[in-house]
Symmetry: C2
Subunit: 395 residues, 2 copies
């Protein structure tokens, strides 16, 4: 028998946290489709999620319904699906969308490779959409591929930052509590629905501040900044040579560590592993050559890995400019190839930039160049601006 | 006698809008220090504002109190002061800050040239801070430079986007309504204060969505994006020649108009006027020369105007690269001077970037260059990234 709940947070602790919830967001509500699981103690309940996503987003002030508004070019609902998919114990996810948006939703699922998603048509109200989602999960539907769950999480499609621990609390509460009418007065219409029509009880669970609902245009801005910040926490530095530990590439790496002290700077010795760990930022340092061989290798690995399906990956190809080894004009001509590379890899959601670091003999000036280089790298990673791809920046 | 209210929104209409306010934000509350103004009918009441700003910002998750958190390098409270200063009929503004932050607040007022601001020490609670602010406005204080107002607006220091019309509603309601106890239950502790200790009545006014309170870190992100968007609505294009209407600078201007259809693109014929109208984005097109004479003139005008005190001003110096007129190497050397210029003007909050637009003979390729140039200009203006100043971008 699978141990439940996962992660070790015992029912007693979860129960304690669930009390005293004045003014809390209703992050998600859970309903028990059958009472059978409730007596099963610590067995893993079969959990499914229903996402009502038929809304028109009137308050957003933009023509696109908010669940389809793009954040870093990917629709908001895809982030919410990603957050639910990561939770291994959610077996099925049902999304209720309007007939009009059904095809668009299918494209989103395909493009961003979401798994285990079923679509139903939404109703004219949020309640009807939820009902349609629950119907799809009920056993008595003909040709139903879905397994009947014990617990169903109803989650807003426009709350992309839901964490596993909150979902766990919801499910634990659904299994454990008879729940109280007291909580009802602080809930939303969703709780009314559950109580009135399903003849079951409902419980309000406190969410984290990150669980807020994307409602206004400013929330889209905030969501974009949060996502950009999350994927900018790690930078991997790849070198074209490993022999000389004293070389200028390592000095740039040290400068990055000093200047960006909130960011984890990793050496790209085991690239496959770093890609697997979902690092979205790469600095490719070319000391020995002025071509893009090393960068090309990295780009090939990234393209094969599918890392950039969900988030734009930043690659900065760094060259050192010492005015001596190669004539400047010829070097520049080589370097301008980056514009073509950048156009190509943009199609795969990889943002490629070039950085030329001036390499003077004077030690103090070199320090200044490297610091400037670190500033530019930080700016490019932070903004992830596709309008500047293929540019050759100079530090 | 001055006509009241300004802007022509009559009391009847304002009154109608004030009803039915369930769940509305308490944007600002108003209290009548004396009843004398209330009977004066349509005369302009003497209005002051008190900003309690003694909070510690625990929920923000950052060490700086939220009212001092920087947005585009300027503290949040300065934006709120700016919003209140714009309202001509608010005569005095009193800010309550902790003794610890008194000096910092004085620096903010000086640096951003805020006028008519008085400082008082905040109390241990928000209520005491408001009380201290009101005391400063009362007549019986010794050495008080402030005039005793009829209406005092209490406004959160962390609501930077307050508009004149909402403040007008607040003041109109304070003058007009006896107000009802009914509204009390939807208010905050501030209303309790007014009712219990001042023996006056209070009224809740509905705010706009933009009036939201900066509470969490995500709200800082949202505020920054909103401000960036607001100051990116107009681009002024300055040319170094006016004779030939067919020249490539005008074609770039046309391209900007086509590509950035949500932005107002203005020709810089009357620069002084455009600066007065608070345009924060300039594209300086150099066709005749490869130096920065025209850009330098513009930078001088901007520095004299003080336009950049409140917001970073973007200047993009555009050169056309036709490979023929001047040898490439020499031209590049000239152009690299932009890095030094950029460092200098950054001290005055001007963000200078260079843009080199390739100028091929082939018409289709030229179109493509110009389009690429417009994309880069849009990206630079949108992001306002100080890490990339002095860069020479290539379209």
């Amino acid at each position: 028998m699978e141990s439940w709940p996962p992660g070790g947070s015992g029912p007693a602790e979860a129960g304690r946290r669930l009390r005293g919830l004045r003014g809390a967001d209703l992050a998600a509500s859970a309903s028990l489709l059958s009472g059978a699981g409730a007596e099963a103690g610590c067995s893993a309940p079969a959990v499914a999620a229903v996402l009502p996503a038929g809304g028109s987003g009137e308050r957003m002030g933009v023509p696109t319904p908010k669940q389809f508004c793009p954040i870093l070019e990917r629709p908001l609902i895809s982030y919410t699906l990603q957050a639910l998919e990561r939770v291994s114990w959610i077996k099925d996810i049902v999304v209720a969308v309007t007939g009009e948006n059904m095809e668009a939703m299918k494209c989103i699922i395909q493009r961003y490779q979401h798994k285990g998603i079923s679509l139903v048509e939404s109703g004219v109200t949020r309640h009807r959409s939820i009902f349609n989602g629950l119907k799809a999960l009920a056993e008595d539907q003909p040709n139903c591929r879905l397994s009947k769950p014990e617990v169903v999480i109803i989650h807003d499609a426009v709350r992309p930052f839901v964490e596993e621990d909150v979902l766990l609390k919801v499910v634990t509460a659904a299994k454990e509590h008879g729940c109280s009418d007291y909580d009802l007065e602080f809930g939303t219409e969703c709780l009314h629905l559950a109580l009135k029509y399903c003849h079951i009880k409902a419980k309000l669970i406190e969410g984290s501040p990150d669980l807020w609902k994307v409602t206004y245009k400013r929330d889209l801005y905030a969501a974009e900044s949060i996502i950009k910040e999350r994927i900018s926490q790690q930078i991997c530095v790849v070198m074209d040579t490993k022999e000389d530990e004293e070389h200028v590439g390592h000095r740039l790496e040290e400068m990055l560590k000093n200047e960006l002290n909130h960011v984890k700077v990793t050496s790209g010795r085991d690239l496959q592993q770093i890609i697997l760990e979902q690092c979205y930022n790469f600095v490719c340092v070319n000391v020995m050559t002025s071509d893009f061989e090393e960068t090309q290798k990295l780009l090939n690995m990234l393209e094969e890995s599918n890392l950039s399906i969900l988030y734009p990956v930043v690659v900065i190809s760094v060259q050192f400019l010492d005015y001596e080894s190669v004539p400047f004009g010829q070097k520049m001509e080589n370097l301008m190839q980056i514009r073509e590379f950048a156009k190509q890899v943009k199609k795969r959601n990889i943002l490629l930039y070039g950085l030329l670091v001036y390499y003077p003999q004077d030690e103090q000036k070199l320090q200044e160049s490297l610091r400037q280089g670190a500033t530019i790298i930080a700016a490019l990673i932070k903004e992830r601006n596709s309008g500047l791809i293929g540019q050759l920046l100079v530090a």
